[in-house]
């Protein structure tokens, strides 16, 4: 069912509720003070079921010892957090925001160099199997010869207010820290999250993110995630059952896959609605999208859903509704479902049985806590990023469904795109004379115009209800410069980026592949046609010779044709040589004597380079004389690398 949009939309209009912030150890944020002994919220002893009459009793020492080996510290190139081991063979749960990368164009890309540190200080390199920002959960895997100590899980749906809890983590970068408190609320729904979350007064600070919240028995109740900035004793925890619901998808699909019937909204039957609708139980259908599967199955706005697959369903409050929605979200796509609804006015209602098949929710656009799942197609040189336009854009950004085109995701400040008065949220419908409906069509037409070196490319946009005509006029910093881009036959986002940016900078681009064959592009894009085979490179004239990186480019190392061409380039003062990642070893290998200019390259090859007498600096991008090298680790490095080359004359 359609929970996400329900949540999205409600959160869209709830700015006051976005007070809770993720706890990632972002270096630019001032650390809130650590509260070593949170005050008890109640002044008199209160009895809670299951914990006797002593909410202030100590957590038994053996429980602390029991949980400690399962809690891990997470560090990577950008920040860090906490996590916990859920299986002997090394699966680890944490928050999505702890491990996400910082590349806005590839929001599903996690951080690249993640290290897990156990309580005994053993360190492991970890892989991210999948992550999501709402629910804020990630699954990591480490490989350990010895079995690890997993946590035990509590029955989080039956957690109760007042229950004694404690948190373990590495707040504000401190070593292992235990804090304690109670569950203050187990049904928080007002943080614009997709599920209910727990609230606790156990001190949770930045760096606790992704750490466990334990009960008195040392069983995990949830994954700590948000704290409220500037407030004391307001921490939030994702119930562990929600996190565990996502684990299988992370393992098998690499992402959390939601199910839905496109596309309708539900609403809880709160007291006033029950009275005016004269109905006791059920779930209100408040919106059914025109021409959608939901409409096709016969669902109508105003229906009251009373049974699902023969079982009664009801939501009297928003928390109930979130629980119901989540239970449908995690069902497998393809499953048949039967909805029984009441229709009509009070007193004269008729019952209808509707059937549908659950579908996979498409990739999400950026929205609220979601940075999105759609890959942005960005021309950084122009300051323009577009993505495919979906039904979700239609609802979130209020774009008429009849509008077709690509959605403008990014317009960078002071860019060519902003000069053209293109706005984020516009839909580009036409490039030149060609109507476009997908990013694939856009890139085809737009790249062709760029390759022609058009001084201005006319665009037709839709902005809300207006038709806007403009033109984008690239600066073409590399106009009249001929670039040979030497690539393998394998597609990579990096290759696509390099090609795109060179076009946007106005370079005349020739792509060379081993046999001159084309390079397939991920998804449904047209393959990239090559202009040259390696055999032709020796005779091809160029101002700039660029070698792509990646594992497959190790094959360049012993290709004599390429090495010869690199030697020529090094000897030619007028020619610029650019090498990315693995290819950065090429100039070292090609040089018969010690390579004079300084270079950088991935760390694992630096030993080889140094052994052969090269001066390795370890920078992200190195430029010396006419040789420019980069580790190619980040897209931002690639962009800096290309800009450095563009600036060289």
């Amino acid at each position: 069912m359609n929970n996400h949009l329900r949540i999205f939309l409600s959160s869209l209009f709830l700015p006051a509720l976005l007070l809770a912030q993720p706890l990632l150890q972002a270096p630019d944020e001032e650390a809130p003070p650590v509260d070593p002994a949170p005050a008890a919220p109640f002044s008199s002893p209160i009895t809670f079921e299951g914990i006797g009459s002593a909410p202030h009793v100590d957590i038994p020492e053996d429980i602390m010892e029991k949980v400690d080996p399962s809690v891990v510290s997470i560090q990577h190139e950008k920040a860090g957090g906490t996590g916990f081991i859920i299986s002997e063979d090394g699966y680890i749960l944490t928050n999505g925001h702890v491990v996400m990368g910082d590349d806005p164009e590839l929001p599903t890309e996690p951080a690249r160099r993640i290290t897990i540190i156990l309580n005994d200080d053993r360190k492991f390199s970890a892989r991210v199997l999948g992550f999501s920002l709402d629910p804020d959960v990630a699954l990591l895997k480490i490989e350990s010869f010895a079995p690890l100590t997993p946590v035990e899980f509590a029955d989080s749906p039956s957690a109760s207010v007042g229950q004694r809890v404690f948190a373990v983590g590495t707040p504000v970068g401190l070593k292992r820290t235990f804090t304690s408190g109670i569950l203050s609320n187990v049904r928080r729904t007002d943080l614009a999250t997709e599920t209910v979350v727990f609230q606790t007064d156990a001190a949770i600070n930045r760096g606790n993110s992704g750490g466990p919240l334990f009960d008195r028995e040392g069983r995990v109740l949830g994954v700590n995630t948000y704290a409220t900035r500037g407030q004391n004793n307001l921490g939030f925890t994702i119930p562990i059952h929600v996190a565990l619901d996502m684990v299988e998808d992370f393992k098998t699909r690499g992402r959390f896959v939601r199910s839905w019937i496109p596309l309708f909204f539900t609403g809880e039957l709160y007291d006033e609605l029950r009275r005016v609708l004269e109905v006791e139980d059920g779930i209100l259908i408040s919106y059914v999208m025109e021409n959608s599967k939901a409409e096709e199955m016969g669902l109508k706005m105003g229906d009251i859903l009373v049974q699902l697959d023969g079982e009664p369903v009801s939501a009297r409050n928003y928390a109930d509704l979130l629980d119901f929605e989540w239970s449908q979200t995690i069902r497998p796509a393809g499953e048949e479902t039967t909805l029984t609804v009441l229709r009509g006015e009070p007193g004269g209602r008729t019952e209808h049985t509707l059937r549908a098949v659950l579908e996979e929710l498409p990739l999400l656009p950026a929205f609220n806590r979601h940075v999105g799942e759609l890959v942005e197609h960005r021309y950084a040189s122009l300051g323009l990023g577009v993505e495919d336009y979906t039904d979700l854009h239609h609802v979130i950004h209020r774009i008429p469904r009849s509008t077709t085109g690509v959605f403008v995701k990014t317009v960078l400040d002071s860019s060519v795109a902003s000069r053209a008065d293109i706005h984020e949220g516009d839909v580009i419908r036409q490039v030149g004379e060609y109507p476009i409906t997908t990013v694939r069509e856009f890139r085809k037409v737009f790249d062709r115009e760029l390759a022609k070196g058009e001084t201005a490319i006319p665009l037709r946009l839709t902005r809300n209800k207006l038709d806007v005509i403009t033109a984008i006029a690239p600066d073409y910093l590399m106009r009249n410069r001929k670039v040979i881009l030497v690539a393998t036959n394998e597609f990579s986002h990096d290759l696509d980026l390099i090609r795109r940016e060179l076009l946007a900078k106005g370079a005349t681009l020739l792509i060379a592949t081993p046999e001159g064959g084309s390079i397939p592009i991920n998804g449904d894009g047209d393959p990239l046609a090559a202009d040259l085979a390696f055999a032709d490179i020796a005779d091809a004239e160029a101002d700039i010779l660029l070698f792509t990186g990646g594992e497959a480019s190790k094959a360049f190392w012993d290709n004599e044709q390429l090495l010869e061409r690199v030697r020529d380039a090094l000897a030619n003062e007028k020619q610029i040589l650019g090498c990315i990642g693995e290819s950065a070893l090429l100039p070292v290998l090609a040089s018969e004597e010690k390579l004079e200019p300084k270079i950088t390259l991935p760390r694992e090859f630096s030993g080889e380079a140094v052994r052969r007498g090269a001066t390795y600096t370890g920078k992200d991008v190195e430029s010396d004389k006419k040789l420019v090298t980069t580790t190619g680790a980040e897209r931002s490095d690639l962009r800096e690398f290309l800009q450095t080359i563009a600036n060289l004359r």
Binding site: L9, Y287, V395, T470, A471, I472
Partner: protein, 461 residues
């Protein structure tokens, strides 16, 4: 006309020439040529002073809402327009402004009130009630000066400064284009804003603005027009916001790169949307036309400045005729019409629900990107009301921009129907009210608790 540019004194404070103080002497060693120059300047200053002094005003505005002390009190100059006490100032002072404005004319102090405002001109007329007829400044037949020419501005002052007239010298550095052109001047003190500007022969040429001076020749007609306009009229500048009269289009300056590519005028304005039944529509213009000429003036300037040019050239006033030329499919199309008053949408405040609603007019559909026109749009949610009280604090059940399509089962296609529905509901006295609405592209259903909010008494036992 002589050029004195080699003698100009760059610092404004140094260029203060205190007339009649006797402190200025001619150095004996001065060359003959220099002496001539000096005498010429002295003559020019006297001429300016003679022409301006009886008609000068000096103002002090006290703005209680100013963000800092420095901005709290502002001093500037102005000129007398009529014997009855109409004063011209080069500021947009709203007629509903609650700032206290004191005006000195001669040695007399008055309290001034803002009377008329023309944002297109960027000028206001203030009114005082003089004890005796004032001497208006003759604005007729102003002359233009050339670049580099020396000009003089004269101000009067308040009692702190013993009502002395001060003269400042500057030279024109260039001309800033626009519907109303301005001289760019060498620096002058802030006090001179609003003071008249003269050439060396004592001929009126402009009115000093912030760092510039308006070229009076461009605006004399419009200043008198503003003076003669009926009370309460104003043109607020924004085309689709004008309270006074309405052209009826959403405009966007043409992208200069696109214009170059398609060989179109770079100062054109797209008529992105023409509202039905507007003056622009009746004149034959349609969405997608490119406006290139207005009231016989070719459109000038690019980007946001093109809007301003449009607003200033249109001078929107009810019943004012206009003419325009647009390009449509490469053809020039001329149209003319008469500006009309912008239609006011019906509104209604429903206190018991806690909302204000408005009829949906076409401009709202565009501005708020509405997806339903059969209904009334919520324009305001009253704090603490049934509509404002949602699931949690800050989460109201209804929101501004929602379009109500029915309340309590009564359809509400317009404000009148909404009012009737409200009357019916009041007689039915329900404890809760079902509301169907459209929000963005989606629909919604909520129930308002009518027992809460102002006058509500909660649930009865």
């Amino acid at each position: 006309m002589r050029f004195f540019h080699t003698f100009f004194i760059p610092s404004a404070s140094l260029s203060l020439l205190l007339l009649g103080s006797g402190c200025m002497t001619t150095p004996g060693a001065m060359e003959r040529r220099d002496r001539q120059t000096y005498e010429a300047r002295e003559r020019a200053v006297h001429r300016a002073l003679q022409a301006a002094e009886p008609s000068l005003a000096f103002f002090q505005i006290e703005n209680p809402n100013a963000r800092n002390q420095q901005q709290r009190i502002i001093n500037f100059s102005g000129i007398v327009l009529t014997e009855e006490g109409h004063l011209l100032v080069p500021f947009a002072i709203r007629t509903d402004s609650d700032a206290r404005i004191e005006a000195w004319v001669g040695e007399q102090r008055y309290l001034a009130r803002p009377l008329r405002l023309d944002e297109g001109l960027g000028m206001s007329i203030l009114k005082i009630e003089p004890y005796e007829p004032l001497t208006p400044l003759n604005l007729e037949e102003p002359v233009e000066v050339r670049m580099g020419e020396t000009v003089y501005t004269v101000i009067t002052t308040d009692e702190d400064r013993e009502f002395s007239p001060f003269v400042f010298e500057a030279f024109t550095q260039g001309i800033i284009q626009g519907r109303y052109r301005q001289y760019s001047l060498s620096p002058l003190p802030d006090l001179s804003r609003g003071a008249p500007l003269y050439n060396s022969f004592g001929q009126l040429t402009g009115i000093t603005s912030q760092a510039n001076a308006f070229i009076l020749a461009d605006m004399v007609h419009d200043i008198y027009d503003l003076l003669n306009r009926g009370m309460g009229e104003s043109a607020t500048g924004e085309e689709d916001e004008s309270e006074d009269a309405w052209f009826g289009a959403i405009l966007a300056p043409i992208n200069p790169d696109y214009a170059r590519l398609k060989d179109l005028p770079r100062s054109g304005l797209w008529l992105n949307h023409i509202f039905k039944d507007s003056a622009a529509y009746k004149a034959g213009f349609r969405s997608g036309d490119l406006l290139i000429k207005l009231n016989d003036s070719p459109m000038r300037l690019t980007g946001p400045r093109a809007y301003r040019f449009f607003v200033q050239t249109l001078r929107a006033r009810e019943n004012q005729p206009f003419s325009a030329v647009v390009l449509r499919d490469g053809k020039r199309i001329k149209g003319k019409g008469v500006l009309q008053k912008r239609p006011d949408p019906d509104t209604l405040r429903a206190e018991d629900l806690g909302i204000s609603v408005s009829e949906i007019v076409e401009s709202m559909v565009i501005r708020y990107n509405l997806f339903e026109t059969e209904g009334v749009m919520v324009t305001d949610i009253h704090p603490g009301s049934p509509a404002a009280t949602g699931r949690s604090f800050g989460d109201s059940l209804l929101r501004s921009g929602d379009i109500l399509v029915s309340i309590g089962g009564h359809p509400t296609p317009d404000v009148e129907a909404f009012g009737e529905a409200l009357d019916a509901i009041r007689s039915e006295k329900p404890s809760a009210l079902l509301v169907h609405f459209q929000r963005g592209v989606t629909t919604g259903i909520e129930a308002l608790n009518l027992k809460i909010g102002k006058g509500g008494r909660g649930e009865q036992p």
